[in-house]
């Protein structure tokens, strides 16, 4: 028999590497055979050499082992096993698994909802391509060291002035807001979203045109660009380009472009953009002055600048205010004031700006609220993860035997960690799917509740999935890693002997986590209650005027002949007041709840020009104060019997104070200068809330103007709406043809100022609810588990004679104590947080102890019910059954 000599080891090694265990035998057999043949023909050395060559060339077949069907990886087999065991454990303890998954799913859903809401709020004005370099010019006026005007709209001159003098400015654009009746072929609508804009408006902002040329559409006077919605409303299917529409029946405007509708998340919204030249033509006086270009005092112009990228705003503001020193010296000295024009990034407008004359004041968001919500989202998720940690460590004893067996069979600790992490990933995955399902199904309801406009389009958003992925990954790791290490660290000998008792450190941690959960829940509940109380306080506060049963009709803006204005107006009023259902009819330039845009400097006749201060101005008729039931605290109302009342004014208390009178009585019969006209104060009215109670009452001066109106106020007798309404509508149409009948009820109009707070409180409530449900799911799981563990103990106690109530007490004592500690922690935290929030309001409540007692009591009650339910069942079990347990 030939001696069998073995081929070079290195070749064999290569082959083993290349072909893997499965193929190695047969193929190395082939090479062996060749080697042996070659020894016979070529000699040992060449044979070895060729063997090595063959082995090296075999590298081309490196992928054969993967193709081979018999290949099986041991780790995939284990992975399969982990999944199987996970699913078995899940179905073995349906209640716990359900609680765990449900809690996680709710937490994830809540978090996703909030993140959607928050990301929408934060998306405002980010759709502009230039959003990073776009700024709004603010207008701030200091008088006597006091900030007197803090306004979002600036003066017409500042935009061009900046462009001429500041090198960073690429371009500027102004938008002068208007409202009026737009008419086309007998279609009349009152439009509130009209802006007079510079041609550059469409260039620096990203408001794309559907038709029309962006370079030329707004350069000519009497041209207008309309939105797609407006185009459909007035022209239907027809092409709007070249058509003429009229504004307030007098200004004809040719349509030169159609713009895409303004996205919801824009701080400025328009349906009509009128060219700035149109306005210039209207304001040009006989000397050729154009105040809408040159005025430094007419602050109604939303002004924006586009800067070069990388401009330093702080330095810019400083340089510009130095520049103004010379430019504005004359006016500043004359009126003893200092005007400034700081820049504000447009992306800050929605959330971080609450100034006078915001473009969409009702829509202004609240950066603090958004910040709070983000934190709440995080906490809810944290509570859900904590549930997972708590439940899985509590149940670790059940899994201890499995760990022991696995370890005995040779499992490494690392493998066990992987196993329990894998479980966490699987559970989190199921929860994630459920959570997404809740979001998809619930978004409609969420929108309804919060008045937001979220759509499911986020499902196509890459960032959204990135966030979801991050939540999943972080959540699985966070909630899985602690239980994984606890479970995998059991010593097999202890476990299998049954020596293992509840882990002390684990218990301690569980307690801390439960305290944390309930502290968070109580904070949220107390917060919700404070928000509600504040809302309640704001709506129940005495506003100083009566807004019930009050119908407001917007005054006519389209008028054939100006000469007939006065008489028609009077005739209409006479006709309406005949109606017995109408108690008062008054016309004025304003109604409560409407921001006044008319301001003017006033001063006492005895003071110098530099004592001039800015006041709001309103024009009202004789019946304004009685109709609104506004108290006159000194002097008298305007009276029909006083023929000189056109030279009289009435101020509110804030106005009197601003002028430096020590009391209302002292102010009466004093003279003041209004512009350069002398007026006499005949009365002082109570500081009623012109705007919401969120802001301080501002000085207002009322003058008597009989038949100039923006609003008719009809004070109705109780319960006679329909008739009075019909009558008003028919008469309005008869007297003011071509004017749409636009009306609102004053209470609705006034209360819309609280929309933001309402939404905030609803969102807050919803998620506080989420948090408490999730926390209770966890508590329920923990308490029922601990009851289960003590089944034998309870059985013995009962057998000896303990009664049910003492057993319930025994079982719930610990949990209730934890909840109580949670309360104690939550109270100061929520007090601090809510106090900060309340500081935003001019009139605010003080947080009382009842809030805490109530929220604490509510949480303890819920916790007691949760814990009590399971313990009661355990306590009532027949002790015989309990003693047989295990």
């Amino acid at each position: 028999m030939e001696a069998h000599s073995s081929p070079p080891k290195f070749g064999t090694f290569l082959l083993r590497k290349i072909y893997g265990q499965e193929l190695f035998d047969e193929i190395s057999g082939d090479l062996d055979e060749l080697y042996q043949d070659r020894i016979a023909t070529e000699g040992k050395f060449l044979a070895g050499f060729n063997y090595l060559i063959d082995a090296a060339l075999s590298i081309r077949n490196y992928d054969l082992k993967y193709k081979n069907k018999v290949t099986q990886n041991n780790s995939t087999a284990m992975l399969k096993n982990y999944i199987k065991i996970t699913l078995r454990t899940l179905s073995k303890n349906k209640v716990y698994s359900g609680l765990n998954i449900m809690g996680l799913a709710l937490g994830i859903a809540a978090c996703l909802f909030i993140l959607q809401y928050v990301s929408y709020e934060r998306s405002y004005d980010k759709f502009h391509e230039n959003h990073e370099n776009l700024y709004r010019i603010l207008y701030k006026v200091h008088q006597n060291g006091e900030l007197n005007i803090d306004c979002a709209a600036a003066v017409p001159r500042v935009g061009p002035f900046m462009k001429e003098n500041m090198k960073e400015v690429v371009d500027y654009a102004r938008a002068y807001p208007q409202s009026g009746v737009i008419t086309y072929n007998n279609i009349n609508f009152r439009e509130d979203r009209i802006h007079v804009v510079d041609p550059s408006f469409l260039k620096i902002f990203t408001f794309p045109l559907v038709t029309g040329d962006v370079n030329s559409c707004l350069t000519e006077p009497n041209t207008v660009v309309i939105s797609e919605t407006a185009a459909r409303k007035y022209f239907g299917e027809d092409d709007p380009i070249g058509k003429m529409i009229s504004l307030d029946g007098e200004h004809s405007l040719g349509v030169t472009g159609v713009a895409k509708d303004v996205p919801n998340n824009s701080h400025i919204k328009f349906d009509f953009l009128i060219s700035f030249e149109t306005l210039n033509n209207r304001t040009r006086d006989e000397n050729g002055n154009v105040p809408s270009e040159t005025s430094w005092g007419w602050y109604d112009y939303n002004s924006y600048v586009l800067l070069e990228s990388g401009a330093n705003i702080e330095e810019y503001d400083k340089r510009f205010s130095e520049l103004l020193v010379e430019e504005r010296r004359e006016d500043r000295e004359q009126y003893n004031m200092k005007d400034e024009f700081p820049l504000q990034p447009i992306t800050d407008i929605h959330l971080y700006s609450n100034l006078l004359q915001e473009s969409e004041p009702e829509e202004q968001g609240d950066g603090d609220a958004v910040f709070f919500l983000t934190i709440i989202a995080f906490f809810i998720l944290l509570i859900a993860w904590i549930n997972y940690v708590n439940l899985s460590t509590a149940r670790s004893i059940e899994r201890a035997k499995e760990v022991g067996v696995r370890k005995t069979m040779g499992a490494y600790k690392k493998q066990l960690v992987y196993q329990f992490l894998a479980e966490s990933f699987i559970l989190n995955f199921i929860a994630l799917i459920l959570g997404l399902l809740i979001v998809v199904l619930g978004i409609q309801y969420f929108n309804q509740l919060t008045g937001s406009v979220l759509s499911l389009s986020f499902l196509l958003n890459g960032t959204f999935w990135l966030v979801v992925g991050a939540i999943y990954l972080v959540g699985s790791l966070f909630s899985g890693i602690y239980p994984a290490f606890i479970l995998s660290s059991y010593k097999p000998t202890d476990v299998l002997k049954g020596k293992l008792s509840t882990n002390r450190a684990g218990n301690q941690l569980r307690r801390v986590l439960v305290i944390f959960q309930f502290a968070s829940s109580v904070t949220l509940i107390a917060g919700t209650m404070v928000v509600y109380q504040q809302l309640d306080h704001m709506s129940s506060i005495d506003l100083g005027f009566d807004m019930t049963e009050t119908l407001v009709i917007k005054g006519p803006q389209v008028f054939g002949a100006d000469s007939l204005y006065q008489s028609t107006m009077q005739a209409f009023k006479n006709e309406i007041i005949k109606n017995p259902e109408i108690e008062f009819l008054t016309s004025a330039t304003t109604v409560p709840g409407t921001e006044i845009f008319w301001t003017r400097g006033i001063r006492r006749a005895t003071g110098g020009d530099d004592s001039r201060k800015t006041s709001y101005i309103a024009a009202v008729d004789y019946d304004y104060f009685p109709a609104y039931d506004i108290d006159i605290i000194a002097g008298r109302n305007f009276g029909r019997t006083f023929t000189t009342d056109t030279g009289s004014v009435i101020l509110n208390k804030a106005g009197i104070k601003m002028l430096g009178f020590s009391s209302p009585e002292e102010a009466v019969d004093n003279r003041i200068y209004y512009g350069d006209r002398m007026k006499t104060i005949v009365g002082v009215v109570e500081d009623y809330n012109q705007m919401s109670v969120k802001s301080e009452v501002a000085p207002i001066m009322f003058q008597l103007v009989q038949n100039f109106t923006q609003f008719f106020t009809l004070k109705l007798k109780m319960g006679a709406y329909q008739e009075a309404f019909d009558k008003a509508e028919t008469e309005y149409a008869r007297f003011f043809p071509g004017n749409p009948f636009d009306y609102f009820f004053l209470d609705d109009h006034f209360n819309r100022q609280y929309n933001n707070e309402r939404t905030f409180s609803k969102v807050f409530t919803l998620f506080a609810g989420f948090a408490i449900i999730v926390a209770c799911l966890g508590l329920f799981g923990l308490s029922s588990f601990s009851a289960l563990q003590r089944t034998k103990e309870i059985g013995i106690r009962k057998a000896i004679g303990a009664n049910i109530s003492s057993i319930i007490f025994l079982l719930s004592r610990e949990f209730l104590l934890l909840v109580l500690i949670g309360n104690l922690i939550a109270w100061p935290v929520s007090y601090l947080v809510m106090n900060t929030w309340l500081d935003n309001f001019a009139t605010r409540i003080d947080i009382g102890i009842p809030v805490y007692l109530l929220s604490g009591f509510a949480v303890i009650l819920i916790a007691a019910i949760t814990v009590g339910y399971k313990t009661l069942i355990t306590a009532k079990t027949n002790p015989v059954r309990a003693l047989r347990y295990e």
Binding site: M1, S28, D30, D32, D54
Partner: protein, 112 residues
């Protein structure tokens, strides 16, 4: 038609396996094919082709015949499957067809 395509080397190996009958395993195939085609063939190329052909379903295999020479490791014997026979036939017919189509003229030119 991916999968049924037969490369020149694959066809040679497949034919060799068919010719060897029940005695076809990597080493014998390498030797036979090398003799017939009178070229040097590396064993790794044969392995590659054999397993690929098996993957395509033209060959089937079985274990057997461990010898001392092989260090006690068994051989993998290959057999041509029906699909393999079909593919070989198709390849052959295709070539015959092409031969028939070559015009007489070219022959004269070629062999003149």
């Amino acid at each position: 038609m991916k999968g049924t395509y037969l490369g020149e080397f694959e066809e040679l190996i497949l034919l060799t396996v068919a010719a060897l009958g029940s005695e076809a395993y990597a080493v014998s195939v390498k030797e036979e094919a090398g003799n017939i085609a009178s070229r040097k063939i590396n064993i790794s190329a044969v392995h590659s082709a054999l397993y690929r052909l098996e993957d395509k379903g033209f060959l089937s295999s079985d274990f057997g015949g461990a010898t001392q020479k092989r260090g006690g490791k068994s051989k993998r014997y290959f057999k041509v499957t029906n699909a393999g026979i079909e593919t070989l036939k198709t390849a052959k017919e295709m070539k015959e067809q092409l031969w028939k189509n070559i015009p007489q003229l070219s022959f004269t030119r070629l062999f003149a």
